[in-house]
């Protein structure tokens, strides 16, 4: 009985930690980068920041309502080959933890895009990795398990219907929506 409880607690704690990603392995790339953004905001900082968002940032205020954490690592390099996929591997390895699922992956030559979602009970997260020859960006958002809530950012950019399109569901309708969003 006790063993079961302990293993249950371990699994639960593993899942709670599972949505967290440690992006610090990428921080060393900032030295090589021409431009870099290393941002880590926890719930307290987000609350502090959202308190200062005025009506001019209404969209941002709405988006950050349910956010519990934001981490961004974005690097722009002067030359190709300044980073390797081994640098990204440490992040991808963490995304194999229970609860994470890959929404899509696009590989095209030297470019790679991956989007991951985490959803366990009331815990949710999103991870986006974009690797271009001279740019590498990893975005990690944690918040509610409601994917629609996490997708608010995507809606802002007009891509909320991506998963539907990938499955081919309601293609024309979605296409129309996307064009609207683009405008």
């Amino acid at each position: 009985m006790i063993q079961n409880l302990v293993s249950l607690a371990l699994v639960a704690s593993g899942l709670c930690v599972g949505q967290q990603l440690d992006l610090s392995s990428l921080d060393k790339l900032a030295e090589k980068a021409k431009e870099s953004s290393v941002i880590t905001l926890d719930q307290d900082k987000i609350a502090m920041a959202s308190g200062l968002l005025d009506n001019g940032n209404a969209n941002a205020k709405e988006i950050v309502k349910g956010l519990k954490g934001v981490s961004v690592r974005s690097f722009e390099f002067a030359e190709k080959g300044a980073y390797s996929m081994a640098d990204v591997e440490a992040i991808r390895k963490q995304l194999t933890a229970p609860g994470w699922s890959k929404v899509f992956e696009v590989k095209d030559g030297n470019e790679m895009v991956q989007m991951w979602f985490f959803s366990v009970k009331d815990q949710g997260a999103m991870a986006l990795i974009t690797a271009e020859p001279t740019e590498l960006t990893v975005v990690h958002l944690t918040g509610p398990a409601d994917l629609a809530a996490l997708g608010k950012l995507a809606r802002l950019a007009g891509v909320s219907n991506l998963p539907k399109q990938l499955t081919g569901e309601g293609r024309n309708k979605d296409k129309g929506k996307t064009q609207d969003d683009e405008n």
Binding site: S37, I39, L41, K45, I46, M48, A49, S50, G51, L52, L53, N57, A60, I63, V64, V70, S71, V72, S74, F104, V106, D108, E111, V113, M115, L128, T130, T137, V139, L141, L153, A154, L156, A157, G158, V159, L162, Q165, L166, G168, R171, T178
Partner: protein, 121 residues
């Protein structure tokens, strides 16, 4: 110095005991003792007029000023941190939005390519 002068000096400088009750009379005439105030509170007429709770009030005032300054400093620091967090948050949202748009373009290109090949869709 001759012996007469020396004797005069000796006699002038010889130890003489005070009259009886001298010390009590001196102490009784001290104003601080009469009013019950501390001797250091009686230096100058301003200090003599100072009530006994004044030092405590001064300490409280100084403590209030120090605490007030510290609190104001904390508020300024919190505000600066919040401003910094706001800038970082907006930058993070901007990068995220831009990268999602980039992602969208990549996915559509991939879908279009698949469609042209008559594959996936």
């Amino acid at each position: 110095m001759n012996s007469r002068e020396e004797n005069l000096v000796r006699s002038a400088l010889r130890r003489v005991d005070p009259p009886a009750g001298f010390a009590e009379r001196v102490l009784a005439r001290l104003p601080a003792e009469k009013s019950g105030r501390k001797w250091y509170a009686m230096r100058g007429w301003r200090l003599a007029l100072m009530p006994q709770w004044a030092p405590a009030a001064a300490v409280l005032l100084i403590a209030g000023v120090v605490l007030g300054s510290w609190e104001a400093h904390q508020i300024r620091e919190r505000k600066a941190k919040a401003e910094q967090a706001k800038v970082e948050l907006l930058e993070a949202l901007q990068i995220t939005s831009a990268k999602i748009q980039y992602t969208r373009g990549r996915v559509f290109r991939a879908l279009t390519a698949a469609q042209n090949k008559g594959g996936l869709l």
